[in-house]
Symmetry: C2
Subunit: 273 residues, 2 copies
């Protein structure tokens, strides 16, 4: 067991933990960290882009649970030397991203720190939540978008090269338009944050089902994390309808596997501490 | 204006920001950071004590708004070298403190980091919230507990000396028993986190009223932060009742000033970046 799983296992079991968000009275609530030198390096992105991505990765959790994000709390630890211009750019990244999704920033905390560490809580209206569990034997598995760019661009950044300004690693594209329309036909969903193969392992654990792949997925695609595309399962009788919604919303869609009773082994290296 | 106020001023105004917690549908929601080398040093406290204090300072915000804390989300950034024993001790500090207040930990995030940085969101049932605003001219001001120990012990720790294991700096004592009983007679409240004189400035701003002190308060008392005692205002006709509740719950109480129309100047040095 890795240390993260060990630490989480030290807590009392609750019915809420383990999904992308906890569900309470028709609200989905999630909290995620976006820390300098853990999730990003300062030289990779502008402060505006950092604040935007911090918001987007949190909003992504709400969307894949079929929640409408409404409120955010921001805790921002900021180096003392940041200028007012830098603070303003950072705030603009948070505020404009919140505005784009109709989110009101209702509170949080600001402290001085040696690096820029962001922690965000998103509260979403979630009257018909979609969980990781819920997948049934025979369901089809699909993901949105084209996977692989995020990992490739992360590797470029790590060796000091630059990436396209429109890179998904810098600017994740969320699939809210597709997902909300398709939600009535989806049984189980999560966002691809650790990588398709990693995240399939979570679906496997939540549903005790494995997968028969009928589309081969190369490792650079299956092991690419931080894609924030949607991985989901649905009853095969909805395939046509879901493909139609994907075309309508111009969302690339790959239907790649079927849920079956068998074990599953993730081929990627573990990426948690 | 300090950088913290400047940064907060960059955001769209919302009716929620500025109190100890935001209020949403009978819930009080607050998020606070508790970061290594910002709020504590590793050698000052055990991991159990760090986790406990991180929880308590967040729970304090809920209590002084007259909220009953119900749920917590924890984001914990942990150094990679922490052993399982250390992780267990940390988790125990969070869990036991949550249990003591009837709080369910519903989610959060765990990441590897260079230092131990904790960010907690507390959600509290809050059907009759008490705000910072609400104080009226002629109201009496009071605080619970004996102030000064936290500052004195912080100074000891900063110069490498040790403190009493029961120090309020290590183990804040919350006044939930007193406060919930007294709440029907309280018009305005907040916890003393930055120091009495600092926090009076916040009451001053929220209510446009100053204070006539009839109990002299020395600077080492008025400038002592992280006390997590309660500062509150009430109609003088409730004084007897409030003093009675304080005796009943064995809560030291100092009624020290009256709210009047005049300016207020905080005598302490600013402690935010």
């Amino acid at each position: 067991m890795n240390k993260e799983d060990y630490f989480i296992g030290c807590f009392a079991e609750t019915p809420f933990i383990g999904d992308d968000a906890a569900i309470l009275n028709d609200m989905c609530i999630s909290q995620d960290a976006f820390f300098e030198n853990v999730h990003f390096k300062r030289e990779w992105m502008s402060l505006y882009e950092i604040a935007r991505k911090a918001m987007l990765v949190n909003i992504s959790d709400a969307i894949v649970m079929n929640g409408r994000p409404k409120y955010a709390l921001l805790t921002v630890a900021i180096p003392k030397h940041y200028t007012r211009k830098e603070l303003k750019e950072l705030a603009r990244g948070f505020q404009e991203t919140a505005d784009a999704f109709g989110i009101t920033i209702i509170g949080g905390d600001t402290i001085a720190n040696i690096k820029l560490d962001i922690s965000i809580t998103i509260m979403a209206e979630c009257s018909r939540p979609i969980l990781r569990s819920g997948m049934k034997e025979g369901d089809l598995l699909a993901y949105t978008g084209r996977l692989g760019e995020s990992r490739r661009d992360l590797q470029r950044l790590l060796r000091g090269a630059s990436v396209n300004p429109g890179s998904r690693f810098v600017h994740p594209v969320l699939r809210d338009r597709f997902f909300y329309k398709a939600a009535p036909f989806i049984r189980s969903a999560m966002d691809i944050s650790d990588g398709l193969f990693h995240d399939l392992e979570k679906l496997h654990r939540a549903n005790r089902l494995g997968f028969d792949f009928f589309v081969p997925i190369p490792k650079p695609v299956g092991c690419s994390g931080e894609e924030f595309e949607v991985l989901f399962a649905f009853d095969p009788r909805h395939e046509k309808r879901i493909r139609h919604i994907a075309r309508l919303t111009r969302t690339p869609l790959t239907v790649f596997a079927r849920a079956v009773r068998k074990p599953y082994h993730n081929l990627c290296r573990p990426n948690h501490f």
